[in-house]
């Protein structure tokens, strides 16, 4: 009875594994959507690029069905509040655009791999108006957040400046160390690796040395025998 009840409230009204039902009971989808919603709206509130407009996306919904997640992520925009708000839900009855894909494919998209190519390779399935997905992506790329000003509001100008200076130094230092390590590795691979004796060479040398030692022992024994014969005569 309980199992059948659980199924009815799932996003797809389809067969649900016990692990999915367990995750539902623990409200993991709600934790994830609440966290995402908080991060997105915080970022929107800090955005300085006033050219960004949500007007075309008002009350539109983009749904991401990621292979790695047992629930969907639906993003809806409300321009009634100021600034515009993005709401994230784990279930919706209808969506203006639904994209079925994986996190791996999303990374490829970010690396500017062709959308059409990914669709052809069956790595991405789009249902609905693709323009909505593109508009969401454009907004995400156009966000401009002045972290220094935001930090200064909480820490004060001088501490923020010092903190960022320190941060820059650390970044430069890490970057320089990284470059040095990279150069050392290249040097080792290109030049030093050729001169380094390999394990098989050491093994062969050891084998040869052992053979010579055996031969020397044999010759020494023969010489000792000869000396003994001569002494007897």
């Amino acid at each position: 009875m309980q199992a059948s009840n659980n199924k009815e409230l799932t996003p797809l009204n389809s067969q649900v594994s016990s692990s999915t039902a367990f995750a539902e009971g623990l409200l993991l989808a709600q934790v994830a959507t609440a966290t995402l919603e908080l991060i997105i709206n915080k970022a929107l509130a800090l955005n300085n690029n006033k050219a960004i407009s949500f007007a075309a996306l008002n009350q539109k919904t983009l749904t991401l069905a990621l292979a790695e997640l047992s629930f969907k992520l639906s993003f809806s925009v409300d321009t009634g509040s100021s600034p515009a708000m993005v709401m994230v839900r784990s279930q919706v009855d209808t969506s203006d655009c639904t994209i079925k894909t994986s996190i791996k494919t999303l990374k490829k998209l970010k690396a500017n791999q062709s959308l059409t190519q990914l669709i052809k390779q069956d790595e991405l399935d789009v249902n609905g108006d693709i323009k909505i997905a593109q508009q969401f992506a454009n907004i995400a790329q156009s966000l401009a957040i002045d972290w220094q000003s935001e930090l200064a509001k909480h820490l004060g100008d001088v501490p923020t400046h010092k903190l960022l200076q320190f941060g820059n130094k650390i970044t430069k230092s890490i970057s320089a160390t990284g470059k040095q390590i990279e150069a050392d590795i290249s040097e080792y691979l290109v030049h030093e690796k050729r001169l380094v004796v390999t394990r098989s060479q050491v093994s062969a040398f050891n084998g040869q040395t052992t053979a010579i030692a055996r031969e020397v022992t044999t010759i020494s024994a023969r010489i000792d025998k000869l000396f003994a014969k001569l002494a007897a005569k």
Binding site: L9, L27, G80, R89
Partner: protein, 275 residues
């Protein structure tokens, strides 16, 4: 209650193990009802429940966060997710109190839609109205003081009706469910989010200990009203369990009724459609 034969009389049980029985339900039919573990006249329940909520209204949100460790926000989010709400929908947030669900619905239905925040208690409604106005949510929300048993709306008005942590305080739950059914549009759905019966015995015992020993003390400390929170714990125990509430929804005319246990059954979300 259908499983009454299996239940001992409520009066035989220790206070923290009482469950609704045949005696309880028959008492309800004779013009009496429950206020926590007390049996009272039906006419008195509204004013007694009102007294509880007038007392706790201002600290309601803080206490909800404290008592549930913030999990009530996830339960409500689950309810929103299960509602299938769309832009343009008309939603009734019944016993909506301080307006947590209304705030979300208001953004999701947009300017074309409408959300009605209804509560029988004026103090709760005032706190909810102030909170939502402070959030800038004014365009598509109406506030109505209403008794769930006699909803002052025309038939077939709403696409969605929700009642979150409110049904157990209603004097005649069957009448309220019939009233909700009437105001729902054909194809509309009812979502009842309410405390329920934990699925596992160990969790049940821990939950009992928490409800009867810690919760009233928290109420005393924060809201300066331990009695109201003692009532909360008692009213949860007297509320119908998952299957019983589902049957009540079926009897009221709802179809495709189902429920989903959340946090081990501490809370359950019941869903039913009007076709």
């Amino acid at each position: 209650m259908s499983s009454s034969d299996k239940n001992p009389q409520a009066s035989d049980l220790p206070t923290n193990q009482k469950t609704p029985t045949d005696a309880d339900t028959s008492a309800e039919s004779k013009g009496t009802t429950h206020f926590g573990y007390k049996t009272i006249e039906k006419d008195d329940k509204i004013s007694m429940v009102a007294g509880v909520f007038h007392s706790v209204a201002k600290q309601y949100d803080v206490m909800n966060d404290l008592m549930s460790f913030g999990i009530h926000r996830l339960w409500k989010r689950f309810t929103i997710d299960a509602s299938g709400v769309r832009p343009g929908n008309k939603v009734l947030d019944l016993a909506g109190g301080t307006g947590d669900l209304t705030a979300k619905f208001s953004k999701l239905v947009g300017r074309e839609g409408k959300v009605v925040l209804a509560d029988i208690n004026s103090s709760m409604l005032n706190v909810g109205r102030d909170k939502l106005r402070d959030k800038g949510l004014v365009q598509n929300i109406d506030y109505v003081q209403a008794n769930a048993e006699y909803l002052p709306f025309e038939e077939n008005t709403f696409d969605i009706v929700t009642i979150a942590f409110g049904l157990r305080n209603v004097t005649d739950k069957d009448k309220a469910l019939r009233s909700i059914y009437s105001v729902l549009k054909p194809g509309g759905r009812l979502l009842v989010l309410e405390f329920s019966k934990p699925e596992h015995e160990l969790l049940n015992k821990a939950y009992d200990f928490y409800s009867f020993n810690i919760l009233p003390k928290m109420g005393e400390l924060v809201a300066k009203d331990g009695e109201s929170y003692k009532y909360l714990a008692e009213s949860i125990r007297m509320h119908p369990d998952q299957e019983t509430l589902k049957s009540m929804m079926d009897n009221a005319g709802f179809e495709q009724t189902s429920f989903k246990n959340l946090t081990g059954g501490v809370v359950a979300l019941h869903k039913g459609y009007k076709f």
